[in-house]
Point group: D2
């Protein structure tokens, strides 16, 4: 663990008050990130868990207690009015992202918004415009594509940026889960279009579209897609949900989102891409797998083994070449100087610690954090093109080209 810089005692650092909206799965993960980041990284500002917000007074109070937030609010508008909140962290379902984020920026706060940025391109455009305007005032906005923040993916990005892959030829990505295989799994909010926007596409597809563009360092130019809803009616949920688990009750309702999406595409450089997002891949629990093949080398990553990156150096003599398994736990790997000795791996939640670190650093330095709302908008445009293509007989659907920040 890196030693603190002698010149900055923790108590002397200016506080950065965080207010979080939502306290389910993402709320717990973000809380762990905010609680831990200042204990591990030596940051110029000291994150303070100022207040958490949720509609149910008892539940939000318990969540504040559990996760270490100083105060609890039941109205997010009240949270925005608090002076001790400098940054609003939005962990709600996608249908409320735009409203809260726009209000938070209007209230002069920095914003961290969970992915997908919004449920529609229009919302995302409004949010991006507002973030752009706010940035001129010094308020910063970031979208929560946390998988950019793993040491292995960050290392992959730097290796691509160094030119180790050369001209890119192929990107293939899957995000496979299996928690909907059972047709009796209940109809939670993630299966309703009005709350979730889309299904596997928005939840898992948003992650892999962002990660693919981030690692490739270029945006997608167009896509051709098929989507499917395998199980169209499910029992209604009853009782508490936790993480991805839930309990069924009497009655049934319609699934109004996709269960799976498969799509192909082209990057602006001409590289071919294939994507698959599904919650029906029996036995695959969190298999976000991405492989990039370039003229000079290849990289491969699997979220189920998140401390590893596979790398093939195509410039080596074939006699001794092969995909090597880099254990991304060395002190000079991204984020690793603050953690444990080589081989002592990190977990999923560390991506949220790192996300918090990068955002705090950006705020302290006044630089634009990445991924930006514009990056979130670009992902939204890809998802919209996927849906459009799927509706139009899989016709190849171009995406308005924008730059992405990596």
């Amino acid at each position: 663990m890196a030693q603190p810089q002698a010149d900055a005692a923790e108590a002397d650092k200016p506080a950065l008050g965080v207010g979080m909206v939502g306290y389910a799965f993402m709320g717990a993960a973000h809380s762990q990130g905010w609680r831990t980041v200042g204990r591990v990284f030596d940051l110029p500002r000291r994150p303070v868990l100022a207040a958490i917000c949720g509609r149910d007074p008892g539940a939000v109070r318990a969540a504040a207690d559990r996760h270490g937030w100083a105060a609890a609010e039941t109205d997010w508008r009240a949270l925005l009015e608090r002076d001790d909140v400098d940054l609003v962290d939005i962990c709600t379902p996608g249908d409320s992202h735009a409203e809260i984020a726009l209000a938070a920026l209007a209230a002069g706060k920095h914003v961290l918004c969970e992915k997908p940025l919004a449920n529609t391109v229009e919302e995302a455009e409004a949010m991006t415009a507002a973030a752009e305007e706010a940035a001129r005032r010094g308020q910063l906005a970031m979208v929560g594509f946390n998988y950019r923040r793993l040491p292995a993916t960050a290392l992959a990005r730097s290796m691509v940026a160094e030119g180790r892959l050369g001209t890119l030829r192929h990107v293939r990505v899957t995000y496979l889960q299996d928690w909907l295989v059972d047709p009796e799994f209940p109809l939670t909010w993630r299966l309703r279009k009005e709350a979730a926007g889309s299904g596997a596409l928005g939840d898992l597809g948003a992650h892999i579209v962002d990660l693919a563009q981030y690692l490739a360092g270029e945006p997608l130019a167009g896509v051709s897609a098929l989507t499917e809803t395998f199980v169209r009616e499910r029992p209604l949920p009853g009782g508490p949900t936790s993480g991805l688990t839930a309990t069924a009750t009497a009655g049934a309702g319609q699934v109004t989102v996709d269960d799976a999406a498969v799509f192909t595409g082209r990057f602006t450089s001409g590289a071919l891409a294939s994507f698959e997002a599904t919650r029906y891949a029996t036995g695959r629990k969190n298999a976000l797998r991405i492989e990039l093949n370039g003229e000079r080398g290849s990289l491969a990553f699997d979220l189920e083994r998140l401390n590893e990156l596979a790398y093939h150096d195509g410039t080596e003599p074939g006699t001794h070449a092969g995909f090597r398994r880099i254990l991304v736990t060395e002190p000079d790997h991204p984020y690793l100087d603050a953690w444990w000795p080589p081989g002592h791996g990190l977990g999923y939640e560390h991506s949220f610690v790192h996300q918090a670190r990068d955002l705090v650093l950006a705020i302290a330095q006044g630089s634009r954090p990445r991924p930006s709302f514009a990056d979130g908008l670009q992902v939204q445009r890809v998802l919209a093109a996927v849906e459009e293509s799927a509706e139009k007989n899989s016709a190849y659907t171009p995406i308005a080209v924008s730059s992405i920040s990596v």
Copy 2:
């Protein structure tokens, strides 16, 4: 190694004379199959390597010598007239398959034809019709999708047939090679449309389309595709080629086939599929990977580890469930009773030994061998739909549904 049945001395078995056309990579592989099959399996007929055919008299003589063929011919029509040839094994490039196969069937021979069955659907239809007619006369025809003949893929098929996957949800398949990454690799016949029909699509795509339909036990209903030629001009080849290697010479020519194809599709049951065939996946040498996810279980296979099959039993309690690595080398695994003790793996070429075994058994029993020419035609239709979709802006392109034999 299984002992011979006491009642059938090899010498007493009726011979089955084989005549092979072509002696490059596939010719060598088929020769090894024919030479070995009667030494390992106890067959009702004794395969005899009667004659091999090629245009260059010296080269074909040397090949006969090397591979153990009793005679050499320089005109395939002469091969078809030989009385000691009962079965014609066609190992030439795809542009000559139809002509030779039709003539061989007309000459009263059984036929084994390398994949892809033909370079066009029309040729494949004619061949299938001829095979159908010949079958009524007792002449049998088989197409050489040898990857059905690996113990692991054959085991996978039987597990699907037993219902271990339940309703199929996803099939994802890649066939990744990298021998064209170098832009100086010369323009061999495999890169010219007139000889090869198509590029990665016909060569690699044909294998994975057949294998996917075989394992799924059902045909594809439609596809949406993107194809690409990354390097459009290459140096002309000079000197001998061997396997997939070749030497460049002065001058350059146009690549007239695809370098890579990515496509999605639907099986007739509604399962989603994704396919990728490429020769530009740096570091991937022969990565034919297929995974099937069903409501009750999943299977995964990788040709680079061909003695293994991964299986997830979705009906097990989650506490102890996981993808298991079945080492497909047990005596009760397909083809394995004739080979070595558990854990003593087989190689690529064994698929040709097994193909020969299955064809000899079918001929001896008078049953239709699988995969049939009709199966080859079905694959051809899928490939044609891929090309059509790629030309029509990736529009989803239905495939005339036919049955497949598994």
Copy 3:
């Protein structure tokens, strides 16, 4: 993340004051555990990071600040006198364990002591006797074999306890690191017998001996050993050390501990064991690997992939049997109900969170925590037998049989 029980607000829970001695690698890891445990698990007592102790006033103050400890002490005897300290957590090198632990127990504190329990069997015996006496007064003691606390190892233990392996035949264990391969790595305290007791043997070997006995559920009966010091002189260290890294300075000194130890042994049941501990396994960063083979099944674990457990069910038909990769991230896996959805893996440090959880629960319930000081003593006896055997020409050296707690 599991919701808090409605009936126990955090603030209402009785505090459990923790005082920690040492703040290097282990101190940082334990701090993360103590900070996090009450936020993730619903515990009957609320751990409070009361005070941290170290000799350098500035450094210990900075560490308190960084890691979130309320107070800092420079004399561990002062720490023991604090009323707000209920539990003393000893994270110093092994040569001070006995003195501090004995004093802490005498002072009426609960004790958590890092492994190895002590540098000699005699110290460990005294500590075990004191712990036994203290337990009668309600003070509890635990030794920090944190690798028992990973979900995968805890699952393995429960599977062995269920009889899934049957009669045990083989246990093979390695703990491979490579941070001493470079002969210029400096002579830190871990390479000096007076501070560390032994080298790879006490550091890595202690872990694998405990883990092997824990998973097997039985003690070792005897061992035969070879040890080696490959590099006998190293530069003196200068400047700060962090984790396992350090900087060299002028001058050189003798390495007085082993660089590696290989030993074989017998468990009391008659199962054969092999062990290897080394810091010279180039490319292996933290490869604690253990495999157990029993008459009915086998288990295998690798710390470099700590979210996975491999299991072979030997009672299954061979046709479909194979080592399965259990992703130990399901809600019903040990410790996992408090964490993330399936497939969202944990890291190294979570073992310390779980260790803290189990210790707090034991204290709250008044039950003996495991592993006990007696377990630490048993490990010490094995290590002593290893050293004795290595000195006596590898002669098989029996170990006084004691019971172990699992």
Copy 4:
């Protein structure tokens, strides 16, 4: 497949008549080697399967028929008198190796003898002396450690010889099978000391001792060992055996060999070694695994994935370093120019083809084939030291140092 050299038609090459004694598992494997080698490799002499020998007239006749041997003999002395036999290939159990090999050398034949070379050091010494004398007359002798002949192990040897590992620190080797886990498996000859010499030690241990010394490029200097017989009584066998399988019948007998052996040792350079040979590792079918760690790099191999070699280059910057998986199927890998394109793997039996190739080349060139009988003797001495150590309370037992040929 490499084309034949134009200047040497197969028919014009001088024949090399092979006479084989034994036709069980090893006989079948060697037959496949002899049948295939001249078809794949361009050799200066043409191997002819002249005669096979076994005691049961009907069975040996059937084996000749099946495996393609021109003649059958029932007395190995008669085989030695045949003029068409230049080389005697001994595939019998170890108790007859010495007698047959000595007689064959006396009869002026070249000799290939299966491993272990003999059942005792004394026999092996006599054989080595006879081989040395015969070599002066131009008769050559080789012992069948076929695992030196896999492309991956041969590549590993060349990488060690190039200095890629630097000073060797560790060698760890296991050979794990599980076909004796079932206590009802019958008492075949492999479980009787008088026929097999020893159990897992001589069968599996001989392989790993030879392979370890071959890859390390140096002999073992001493060992410390434990051996065990877990199941001491087994049913008598009845009916035919095949490969490693057999059928039980009424009655029972004593197992007089070891079931498993674990031993540690030192190489002459000071590197530490650990070995384990067992037939009780449930779920491990043929897990011959070897890893070598040197100051500059590491290599790892697993026979269950025999087309792969893992290599860590310790001289690379840690940022991008990792164990790489070399797919040993490139044309410039050992033996591979004669086989298939990259990624098209070989199997177990290819080791026998390669062994035949190397022996034919050595005979044609008049050079000493490797591994020599002296190498077989060195392995025998290690096995004897293992047995001696196991009897003497695991005392470290030195081995008379001899050179080995690699």
